[in-house]
Amino acid sequence: MKEARPAVPGLYRIQDGPLDLQEAVRAVGGPDRGAIATFLGAARDHHGGRGVVRLEYHAYRPMAEAVLREIGEEIRERFGTPHIAILHRVGTVPIGEASVVIAVASAHRREALEACARAIERVKAIAPIWKKEHYRDGSRWIEGSSADPTATE
């Protein structure tokens, strides 16, 4: 995280309050890019048969932003798609609202779509962010990925 990195295009942010898909799309678009793929993860009203009334996300904020940027770098190297935005919300996320937004632009559609699919997998696997589900009668931390984040893929 501390070594100097070349400045690369991209928008990586952990934020309070609603995410704006258009902001992510604007951040990656440009006249030489024919394809923009996006992924929006939203708070769902059920999980494992149980009703969910809201979600709450916590992050290790400075590290999470650095990891989002590293994921962008990984994606850029793997798919040759330098134009990437990854935004993740923290705090309370009401049902139906976005918790994460990813946009990837590329000259051609295949790379954009594959890069976008890969990016959300990596965010779920390694970004230091945690979700707490709130039910009518309680709440529970979700602990998802036990992927080894230090493993080289």
């Binding site: 696997a125 970004a127 230091p128 962010i129 945690w130």
Partner: protein, 80 residues
């Protein structure tokens, strides 16, 4: 040396605080620091899959820590 260890999500709740200070030998590893944290916080002793970070990057338990480096320990992640 004194180390401040950041705890997140359920670990912070179990400890009753978002950070804890521990005393370790100079040249201690992340694994030793985590062991010391668990001595101080019995509620964390059963945790088997902690993720360790040093200076805002994931790191292995054998990583040697220098004074003043930012240490964090947290449960498996669930963003997205």
């Amino acid at each position: 040396m004194k180390c401040t260890v950041l705890l997140f999500a359920r670990y912070g709740e179990l400890a009753g605080a978002p950070r804890i200070e521990v005393d370790v030998r100079d040249g201690a590893t992340l694994g030793e620091i985590w062991d010391r944290v668990r001595e101080r916080v019995p509620a964390l002793r059963g945790e088997e899959n902690p993720l360790l970070a040093c200076e805002r990057s994931y790191a292995r338990p054998d990583r040697v820590v220098s004074p003043g480096e930012e240490i964090a320990v947290f449960p498996p992640v669930s963003g997205g």
